[in-house]
């Protein structure tokens, strides 16, 4: 009787186990977004001419615009991925 009650107790305890098999990870960002912006902008050499100044400024503005696009896209990517992630319930 002692062994029987132990067996019943064991079976009842088995009924309590409830594993959670579905595991989810937040998606990995695309490599393009993970590339950092250039560490510094272009500076002028002493004795630079007007055209050098204009070219350097244009190149720096281009770098800024590229980084601004990356930043804007990062925000958009995160918001969309968060929405997709939270849709699954």
């Amino acid at each position: 009787m002692k062994y029987l009650s132990f067996l019943i107790f064991l079976i009842i305890l088995q009924g309590c186990s409830s594993p959670v098999p579905v595991k989810r990870n937040f998606p990995q960002a695309p490599g393009v977004l993970l590339e950092p912006c250039p560490p510094s902008l272009k500076s002028l050499n002493s004795g630079a001419k007007l055209s050098d100044v204009a070219t350097t400024i244009v190149e720096n503005y281009t770098t800024y615009h590229e980084c601004a696009i990356k930043n804007k896209t990062w925000i958009e990517w995160y918001q969309n991925q968060k929405k997709i992630f939270e849709e699954v319930k």
Binding site: L4, I8, I11, I12, Q14, G15, S17, S18, P21, V22, R24, P27, A29, P30, V32, L33, P39, S40, L41, K42, S43, L44, N45, S46, A48, K49, L50, S51, V53, A54, T55, T56, I57, V58, E59, N60, Y61, T62, H65, E66, I69, K70, T73, E76, W77, N80, Q81, I84, F85, E87, V88
Partner: protein, 144 residues
């Protein structure tokens, strides 16, 4: 719960049915021409009640298990759908950033070509003072 996976449902239904039938039979033991059986009436009844209870419990556990497995399958389908959607979003983002960066670079190159063609004419007219270059270079420096 291993026992629920290991044994098929009909085993639990069978055990439940048999235990109910045996429990019913115990009330007619006195009419069976085996007198020693009647002495075991109470232990047999206890055993059949136990077997019936365990069978019902395991049937419930199996039903619960199937319910949760269905939910898991449903969730897995949703997760797969979300992953596909997420992948599509990644592709869209990469395409967008590549196109926009190309436009920005092309515009920059156009302006540089314009500078080389038009602004270069004023190189000798407009001398750039050293203080201007210093101010520009100071502004260019980032946070170290």
């Amino acid at each position: 719960m291993w026992i629920v996976h290991w044994l098929p449902s009909w085993v639990f239904y069978g055990l439940l049915g048999i235990s109910i039938v045996i429990f019913g039979i115990t009330y007619f033991l006195r009419f069976i021409p085996l007198p020693f059986l009647y002495t075991y009436k109470i232990p047999i009844q206890i055993a059949t009640v136990l077997v019936a209870s365990i069978s019902i419990y395991l049937l419930g556990a199996r039903a619960n298990e199937e319910h949760w497995l269905a939910k898991v399958r449903e969730l897995e389908a949703k997760v797969a759908q979300a992953e596909a959607k997420s992948q599509e979003e990644n592709v869209r983002v990469v395409e967008k950033i590549v196109v926009q960066n190309r436009v920005v670079r092309e515009r920059g190159q156009d302006v540089v070509r314009y500078v080389d063609k038009e602004v270069v004419k004023y190189n000798n007219v407009c001398e750039i003072p050293g203080v201007f270059i210093d101010a520009h270079n100071k502004a260019v420096e980032g946070v170290k």
